[in-house]
């Protein structure tokens, strides 16, 4: 599977109704392009100067390619995004290209509701595979140690440079080499994690540079309450 995040910094003067239209276009994408899975949006609550996050996934690179060439992508989603599009409401973001994601064996990121936290990591270019694997193992173990942390996945940000077909890099290495995706039951659970005594919470509070030989050079975080289209099979009430 391919897990993917698009992160948008909005023009300060973007009309509210157009922002809502972009949110809806992202949230509803799977209705028009069935290959788009687990589509949800959220408003970033961190200090990072980006506002809107669209999280979604694809079963395969082939499914991703069908999204890329679908009219809904070109005509509706891109209407608000491309630099020369007259209805553009985004600006070039300070976090670098606002596209992050990774390959995974299955939808281990999946949660019906809650708070998503995305930690963007820049690892030392000279880090060995062993160091990176050890880091991933430690971060992913957090889901078993931290109450109400439902998801913890750390992976290389392959989508940052392979955004055309999901596999082949079309540009240089991304600014954020890895992503650490987390899921919490709610904002209180995230807050409890931050102030808790787990190893990774202590690392985050103390600074990444003092941990594991400084393999993590920089980090930035986004977090948001997940807003997705209601599941029509669940009915009401």
């Amino acid at each position: 599977m391919l897990r993917r995040f698009e992160v948008y910094a909005l023009r300060p003067d973007a009309p509210a109704e157009v922002v809502r239209a972009l949110e809806a276009a992202c949230r509803e994408c799977g209705r028009f392009i069935p290959e788009v899975l687990d589509s949800a949006v959220g408003t970033n609550l961190s200090d990072a100067p980006v506002q809107l996050v669209w999280e979604h996934a694809y079963a395969s690179p082939g499914a991703y390619r069908r999204y890329m060439v679908h009219p809904y992508h070109a005509a509706v989603i891109d209407r608000y995004l491309l630099p020369d599009a007259p209805e553009r409401i985004v600006i070039d973001g300070p976090l670098g290209a606002g596209l992050y994601g990774y390959g995974c064996d299955g939808p281990s990121y999946r949660m019906r509701a809650g708070v998503r936290r995305l930690v963007l990591l820049r690892l030392d270019a000279g880090a060995s595979e062993t160091d990176v694997a050890r880091l991933a193992e430690t971060l992913e173990q957090a889901a078993t140690e931290v109450p109400d942390m439902m998801v913890s996945i750390m992976a290389a940000n392959s989508m940052g440079s392979a955004w055309f077909d999901g596999v082949t890099p079309v540009m240089g290495p991304p600014r954020w080499t890895h992503v650490w995706e987390q899921g919490f039951a709610n904002l209180d659970a995230l807050d409890s994690y931050r102030h808790g005594d787990s190893i990774v919470a202590e690392v985050e509070r103390g600074g990444w540079d003092r941990w594991m030989g400084g393999v993590v050079k920089r980090s930035a975080e986004l977090f948001y309450e997940v807003s997705r289209r209601p599941d029509p099979t669940l009915g009401h009430g």
Binding site: P83, A85, P86, E87, M171
Partner: protein, 105 residues
């Protein structure tokens, strides 16, 4: 198929906008693989802002995706986008597929 941008521009900025299309726009879009079809304006003598309609063509959405990739990877495209954004008041972009009875394909 056609990509049609219709933008609203203040009368005194029409020539600047057209100049950007004529130079940077045609170079960037052409190099990316799009074909220039037409550029037309409404009258500047009717007391309204001017609308400029610029039309590009390509085979289908598969080719557009390739053009889009080329555009995003071209630094001139980002300069082009910022420049036209600074000159227009608003507008729309729509994709059109010619009907079977259309003489222009």
């Amino acid at each position: 198929m056609r990509l049609v941008d219709t933008v609203e521009v203040e009368t005194e900025r029409v020539e600047d906008y057209l100049q950007v299309i004529r130079t940077l726009g045609m170079a960037v879009m052409g190099d990316a693989g799009a074909s220039f079809v037409s550029c037309a304006t409404t009258s500047s003598a009717i007391g309204e802002h001017v609308y400029i309609e610029v039309t590009w063509s390509f085979d289908d959405h598969v080719q557009w995706d390739e053009i889009r990739k080329n555009l995003v990877l071209d630094p001139r495209y980002h300069e082009y986008g910022a420049t036209v954004a600074s000159l227009r008041l608003g507008g729309t972009r729509r994709f059109f597929t010619p009907t079977t009875f259309s003489p222009a394909r």
